[in-house]
């Protein structure tokens, strides 16, 4: 099974720690986290607050890979989407292609940022998940 994050929205408390953890880990601009949490109100009674959590799914047929003109995005044997920083031209095609709004292009670095589950930083579990207080995020496809 492809390693990726999974979420249980009913456990999410909208504290947004995962967003800041990601921005710190990846050195991203404000608002540029690769994980996003949107809190929306259920429109009918009984009222409730629902959390929509979006992040890289490491898709089986990654649209970002298909869209990248410079071969900067590849797929590892285990299915993970991987990224070759040197090849990235920051054209933004992957950002457009991603259905999960999980890729950013940084104007400062001139490169894209793609979720690698924090593995390139040597972390066993991604920063977003490690800082979640409620257990709303979990890691699939990785022996615990």
């Amino acid at each position: 099974m492809t390693p990726r994050i999974s979420d249980e929205p009913s456990l999410c408390i909208g504290c947004l720690a995962c967003l800041v953890a990601c921005m710190q880990q990846k050195n991203l601009a404000p608002g540029g986290s690769l994980i996003k949490v949107q809190v929306v109100e259920k429109p009918d009674p009984p009222y409730d607050l629902l959390c929509n959590i979006t992040y890289c799914r490491h898709c089986p047929n990654p649209p970002c890979l298909a869209a990248c003109p410079s071969l900067a995005i590849e797929q590892a044997l285990d299915g993970r989407v991987t990224f070759l920083l040197e090849s990235c031209t920051a054209c933004g095609a992957c950002v457009e292609a991603c259905p999960y709004d999980a890729i950013r292009v940084s104007p400062e670095s001139g490169k894209a940022s793609i979720c690698d589950l924090c593995w390139t930083s040597g972390e066993p579990r991604p920063a977003c998940l490690r800082h979640c207080p409620s257990g709303a995020l979990s890691l699939l496809g990785v022996p615990q």
Partner: protein, 705 residues
């Protein structure tokens, strides 16, 4: 590169962190998996600490005002010059007017709050002003009178968690401590009931949300007492063996029927009955208290009712209940830390106004009133230490601002320029938690936050600053350095600061049902630390102080029922101050990662009410009350009553390009322009900041220019 354990003080929760330091610079701050409570998690504020630490707007040097007050003209000076000015002014005031003419004002409850209290005591002034009248001191004082000890909560082992007066999952001062435990308990099947005027995230993650009218929580608690006694759902053994005054309470509570409470709280009587039964029969149960309960004119009664409920259901001092925690440090040492060794309470200097249940502390407003009215005497010099009263204190414009404008001398120590420091004569740059050695010694965990990086500019450790000021005045702090002070602080444990650093976390194991084991009283006898040795449902201490010995309900001073004529002009109930997870009080609006998550203050208003007023989602609206108005952006929602609106608190605009006298946008969205420092709760001095009346209307284009 090194990985260092520390304690995060970006808010006051004291979560465990691991800081990566490279070439003398902190480069990453993450949660510490070994922290006994937060277990490696960390909130948005803590995770954004690097942007605070290396923020270009940090105060870097001591500065002296050169133009008129509030005009933003400063001259950089050296620390020795700053100490000389400060010591000279304070000494002159002490000599001419007495030590009580000096006031020290503090902000949120980091350890420095106690250190500045000690500083005030060393100066010989009883006038240390803080938020003690509306933040945690009331609940501790009330339960101490009834149970003989402060009550905490063992959420983790609870089967029924009642959240009163707070958005527990986002509560800013202990967000991840609480969130980790609440969600773990929920996963284990604990029932959760949240009482809140609006559907907060805590309400959304609870089984039951009781939509209470702002300021009327006490009526709900009293009706629960009524139902629980009426239906015989109380803990008969505990009541018979460990309480006094039950017959009086039973007779007294007959008047508080659910039907009465329905009229007061706007919660249906059957819901009140149903939840009272759930609370009384789902054991163990705990009630958590947020500050909204401590910010009304009926604070004492509300907390009394809550304490009584915990007692008659047998939920006191049990696993999963409202617990009596043994701290690591003995209480006597905590009192010494605050300076009881430097100035005993019997010192002859007369302090400004205080209230019978919190006699040792001054509410901030007592100091501002003294400056403005000169009664009973006038405070002449103020040191604001890590606080921003222009945003956080009641009646911000007509009281706080007036006082700061006219006080003879104002010094402010902080991390950033603030609307309060804008008014100062002397501004002092404070060090962050990454730049100084400090300790977390509250509650049942002791941990260290060592100095990991050199301060930015000339930012300085607060305690070292206090020591230098006192030395220059020929007085003493009782220690020659922060290190020495911390070793002294830990001495009763037979430990030094280095020992704590090496140990990581010192955790005090907890014993429950201490009242059966003779562990609560100085005489070692079983029972509670009260005059009768029992939980005093009819409180003898209150009777002695002239307070109601049984819990009462007090209608908010401004409300549809107490001021119906005002309702014609101000038809909406205003509540405010609900927390957001990225900010701590008035702080962090300049931290880019956090500000982007919540760029502007929002007024929550019911969709129907907004439609009636011609207000669309995102419109800037005026919120106007008797004392003033401010503007925030309308957020349309169904999760608040059509008769109620909720405004955010603590908002200013650090990035503003407005002229200096605009005080960084202090008068744009500041909800404390609408609040008042009076009337007060008789026991604690709590102020009615959470339940007022207002009207809401759209800003014109001219207003927004």
């Amino acid at each position: 590169m090194s990985l260092c354990r520390s304690t995060c003080w970006t808010c006051s929760a004291a979560c465990g962190v691991l800081v990566t330091v490279q070439d003398g610079k902190a480069v990453k701050i993450e949660g510490d998996p070994e922290h006994p409570r937060t277990k490696g998690t960390l909130c948005a504020k803590g995770l954004a600490s690097l942007q605070l630490q290396y923020h270009p707007d940090r105060l870097l040097y001591p500065m002296r005002r050169v133009g008129a007050r509030g005009q933003g003209q400063w001259q950089r000076i050296t620390w020795p010059e700053a100490i000389q000015i400060l010591a000279g002014r304070l000494a002159a005031v002490r000599q001419q007017w007495g030590p009580e003419a000096v006031a020290v004002v503090a902000g949120g409850s980091r350890p420095v709050l106690n250190y500045s209290r000690r500083f005030a005591n060393a100066l010989g002034t009883p006038n240390h002003g803080a938020a003690s009248h509306l933040c945690s001191r009331p609940s501790g004082s009330v339960s101490r009178s009834i149970v003989g000890a402060g009550l905490e909560y063992d959420v983790t082992r609870s089967r029924c968690i009642v959240c009163m007066g707070s958005n527990w999952l986002h509560t800013q001062w202990a967000q991840h401590l609480y969130a980790v435990e609440f969600m773990a308990a929920r996963k284990n099947g604990a029932l959760a009931i949240t009482v809140d005027p609006r559907l907060s995230m805590t309400g959304a993650r609870s089984d039951i949300w009781l939509q209470v009218r702002p300021g009327s929580d006490a009526a709900l608690l009293l009706a629960w007492i009524n139902v629980i006694i009426e239906e015989g759902l109380y803990d008969r053994d505990f009541v018979a063996n460990w309480t006094t005054g039950f017959p009086e309470l039973a007779a007294h509570s007959q008047q508080f029927t659910p039907e009465w409470a329905e009229q007061v709280t706007w919660i249906r009587a059957d819901r009140i009955r149903e939840t009272a039964r759930l609370y009384a029969t789902t054991k163990p149960a705990c009630i958590t208290v947020g500050v909204a309960l401590e910010e009304t004119i009926g604070t004492t009664g509300a907390l009394q009712a809550l304490t009584v409920l915990a007692a008659i259901t047998g939920s006191v001092d049990v696993d999963g209940g409202n617990t009596i925690e043994s701290g690591v440090l003995p209480a006597s040492q905590l009192s010494k830390v605050m300076g009881s060794d430097l100035m005993p309470r019997s010192a002859p200097v007369k302090g400004l106004q205080s209230f019978p249940l919190i006699p040792d502390a001054r509410p901030g407003f007592a100091i501002w009133e003294s400056i403005v009215t000169g009664q009973p005497y006038q405070v002449k010099a103020v040191l604001v230490h890590g606080g921003n009263p222009v945003l956080t204190n009641e009646n911000a414009r007509n009281l706080v601002f007036k006082a700061l404008e006219q006080v003879d001398f104002l010094a402010v120590a902080d991390l950033f320029p603030t609307p309060t420091s804008d008014l100062a004569d002397l501004v002092l740059p404070a060090a962050t938690w990454l730049e100084k050695d400090d300790l977390n010694y509250r509650g049942n965990v002791v941990s260290a936050s060592p100095k990991l990086v050199e301060p930015q500019g000339e930012a300085r450790n607060d305690v070292d600053m206090f020591i230098d000021i006192l030395k220059a005045m020929g007085l003493t702090y009782g220690a020659n350095s922060q290190r020495e002070f911390m070793d002294w602080l830990l001495a009763p444990l037979g430990k030094t600061y280095e020992d704590v650093l090496a140990a990581g976390y010192l955790v005090q194991p907890q014993v429950r049902k201490k009242y059966e084991k003779g562990l609560l009283r100085a005489d070692g006898k079983p029972g509670f630390d009260t005059p009768s040795g029992k939980v005093e449902l009819l409180c003898s201490r209150f009777a002695k102080l002239g307070l109601d010995p049984l819990p009462q309900y007090h209608e908010p001073a401004e409300s549809p029922y107490s001021t119906p004529e005002l309702l014609k002009q101000f038809p909406l109930v205003l509540t405010d101050g609900g927390r957001k997870p990225m900010y701590h009080h008035s702080q962090h609006r300049q931290v880019p990662w956090l500000r982007q998550l919540s760029p502007e203050p929002e007024l929550e208003i019911n969709r129907q009410t907004a439609a009636d007023l011609g207000i669309a989602d995102g419109d800037w609206v005026w919120i106007e009350g008797v004392r003033g108005r401010c503007r925030q952006r309308a957020k349309l929602t169904n999760c608040i009553s059509p008769r109620v609106v909720h405004a955010e608190f603590g908002w200013w605009y650090p990035e503003t390009t407005a002229p200096a006298e605009a005080l960084h946008g202090a008068w744009v969205s500041n909800i404390n322009m609408l609040t008042d420092q009076q009337p007060n709760d008789k026991g604690c001095g709590s102020t009615p900041v959470r339940a007022l009346l207002c009207k809401v209307y759209k800003c014109s284009e001219e207003d927004l220019r």
